[in-house]
């Protein structure tokens, strides 16, 4: 369309400049101390670390939305299921849980999955009058068998040292291993969702993922045998040293002294730098892989599919297959981010998985950053996270500023008390402004 031709040109310097600005924000946060910034490298790095994880989330969503136009509104669920991995992989095993019923649960799950496969097989292979009865028979018998195996096993596991554990426990493997496993978990879930939802004649992925996201979180909350449900798993192992260890390590104490930074602060910075290093490696590797794919025939094919599904199908491209592929990969990346996040937090608390915070905020990141552009998504992830964290302190200050001319009274009081909600307003405003003035995001797709 004619109106758009001007918009297509965007400066090649745009991305570097924006990243520069972003870096500057973090430096300011680390060095200057005023109403806007805290002047602490600890804060700055802490925001950066979660920012990088957010960037990975945004990258995953960008693959689905930016490359293929798939609307995933269940981001929170895939993050959550990825977060299960650190618990199951790296937490120390719980004594007696496997003998109590671990094996039986495993068998039950296999029976459950087998039932589903058998059901879909029956449905596909049988025709005529026996189709429905056979399907029902398979489902009912399978379900009964599954419950018969599953329920007692779960009771036994949950009864095992209920106050402290009551779950299967982990394998005690290195926590870094759980990252790819988290990706796998999410990919498996995504495959199931995609198989059903992407196959529906009109695409109903959005609502299916919205539901599945909620269901995954509900499972994590309620299936205590898995990861203690809402009772949370704490003290998940870290891939980096503990601050306390550093503070007791004479070598580090000496080094901190030589830098002239207080010990507590130095140890905090050190640990966060280590995290930042790990996370950046993941982020950069993902961006590189994604860019390589996008700038090759695969990327061209994805663009063609996005442009015109019907024509791409007629030109021999398996549209549903490719959609499934990007959907699964995107979710895998989200799962990876979920595992990274839990590793970083050291805590698995399923109640934290709130769609407002995870699904919608990640959407804001992608849209603001620039969908379709990996660098854009990464930028959006870090920037929005920065703003989201800072809005928490900026909001009240803004309200204070705005209400300063008001006479002290009920209204002022009320506004001051509600200041915390400025955070939502601020996020919404950022999204709306970017959509309005830079509709393709800060770093648009080329």
């Amino acid at each position: 369309m004619a109106t758009t031709r001007q918009a297509e040109r965007s400066s090649p310097w745009r991305a570097p400049i924006l990243f520069g600005v972003l870096a500057l924000l973090f430096v300011l946060e680390g060095t200057t101390r005023n109403a806007l910034f805290s002047g602490s490298w600890n804060t700055s790095l802490a925001i950066l670390n979660m920012g990088i994880i957010s960037a990975v989330m945004a990258l995953g969503l960008n693959m689905q939305w930016g490359y293929a136009g798939l609307f995933n509104s269940g981001v929170v669920g895939f993050l959550a299921i990825g977060g299960l991995a650190p618990v199951l992989i790296s937490v120390a095993p719980v004594e007696g849980s496997w003998s109590a019923g671990g094996m039986r649960v495993a068998v039950a799950l296999i029976v459950g999955l087998g039932t589903l496969f058998l059901a879909s097989y029956t449905w596909r292979k049988l025709r005529g009058t026996w189709r429905v009865p056979a399907l029902l028979a398979v489902l009912i018998i399978g379900f009964a068998l599954y419950r018969w195996l599953f329920d007692p096993a779960v009771m036994a596991i949950e009864a095992n040292q209920a106050a402290q554990y009551g779950n299967l426990g982990g394998l005690g493997l290195p926590v870094l291993l759980s990252w790819p496993v988290g990706a796998l978990f999410a990919a498996a879930a995504a495959w199931g969702v995609g198989k059903v939802a992407l196959g529906l004649r009109s695409d109903y992925l959005a609502i299916a993922t919205l539901g599945i996201g909620e269901i995954i979180v509900a499972v994590l909350k309620n299936e205590e045998w898995l990861a203690r449900g809402v009772k949370n798993v704490t003290s998940i192992p870290r891939p980096v040293p503990y601050e306390i260890q550093l503070q007791q390590d004479p070598e580090f104490v000496a080094r901190a002294a030589s830098w002239g930074i207080p010990l507590a602060e130095a140890s905090g910075i050190w640990v966060k730098l280590a995290y930042a290093g790990l996370f950046s490696v993941v982020l950069i590797a993902l961006i590189l892989l994604a860019e390589l794919s996008l700038k090759s025939p695969w990327g061209r094919m994805m663009r063609a599919i996005r442009d015109n599904e019907v024509a791409a199908d007629a030109m021999g491209k398996d549209v549903t297959g490719r959609h499934l592929q990007v959907f699964v990969i995107g979710c895998a990346v989200m799962g990876l981010a979920g595992a990274m996040m839990i590793t970083h937090d050291g805590l698995m608390a399923p109640t934290q998985y709130n769609p407002l915070r995870y699904t919608f905020l990640v959407w804001v990141m992608v849209v603001v950053g620039g969908s379709g552009n990996n660098w854009g998504a990464a930028l959006g992830g870090i920037l929005i996270w920065f703003l989201w964290t800072k809005a928490e302190s900026w909001g009240p200050q803004l309200i204070a500023l705005l209400t300063s001319p008001l006479p002290a009274g009920a209204l002022k009081q009320h506004l001051m008390e509600s200041a915390a909600h400025m955070r939502f307003i601020a996020m919404g405003a950022v999204l709306l402004l970017v959509l309005r003035f830079s509709p393709r995001g800060l770093v648009p797709e080329k």
Partner: protein, 373 residues
Amino acid sequence: EEVKLGLHLGFTGPLESMAPNIAAGAEAAAKEISESGKFLDGSTVVTPRSDTTCIDAAASVSAAERQVADGVRAMVGGQCSGETIATLEKVAIPNGVLMISPSATSPALSTIDDQNLFYRTSPSDARQGEVMAELAKAQGIESVAITYTNNDYGKGLADSFQAAFEKQGGTVTTSSAHDDGKADYSAEVAALASAGGDALAVVGYVDQGGSGVTRASLDTGAFDKFIFPDGMIGQELVDRFGSEIEGSIGINPAAEGDGRDRFEELAKEAGFDASGPYSAEAYDAAALILLSMQAAGSSDPAAAKEKVMEVANAPGEQILPGELAKGLELLAAGEDIDYVGASSVELVEPGESAGSYRETTIKDGKLEVVAYH
């Protein structure tokens, strides 16, 4: 010196309505101490707030990081157990900041290696369940249905109650979760009603799903006798249900003495609702932190953290809400105090409230204290 005491609470999120009263409690204590002029040679206290969101550990951690960067020496918070654990492990311990939570009640917090930096003015839920069970049995309740808010607090308390109740020979017909802030609770109530029982234990929050379930149970006639633990007790409860819940049992952490009454007066003056859950505990948390600093003679948390137990427990002169100035004087004079405060603080190892509970019953549409346990 201006001592910064962070208020690290869930101002947004699912428990956003509980946070203002908790904050108000803590602020009342801070103000009292600040205005007494006797704190650390005339130091004042400011209470910058930060938002834990209650559910988002990451946001809570970064908010706490900011507080630390701003130079807070100690924090009242967090509000919810999950987020509290994250903040403790990731911010408070590494930075050596003292944290006293008014409301995080998960048993998991008892076992964390906290370098003595974490205390709470509320008891662990492990104990509350037992007390609830005893009271229920004493009232002749043989079978109960349990509904709990689906988080670590609800689940933990429901489990401990169920275990204790069954141990005493009662039956639990069903124990099922309700999610806070859901659109509709008819399905939950239908299930509870079908399971039946002499009473319904509502392990939830009074301005959340807990009330929703209670309301629907009353309306459909599913239950007319309830057992309410701490999350449900408050003026809200009687305002809402009044005589409809006549004869129900209430239980919450509190101890005999007029600390609470004093606090309520104080709150009325300051214009906030004292009966809100954990408001009193927050007052105590703030007071404890500041009194410990006074006892240590410095606002350095590393020194103050070792004084908390001393200040909180006997021996020494008892200090009630409104008497903080007296406490400060005594401490300055090198004497020992026994802070009682609004919630009858008595800290046991590893730094949590001992768990004295108040039994109430609803009579003529009012909460009436029956006994203390």
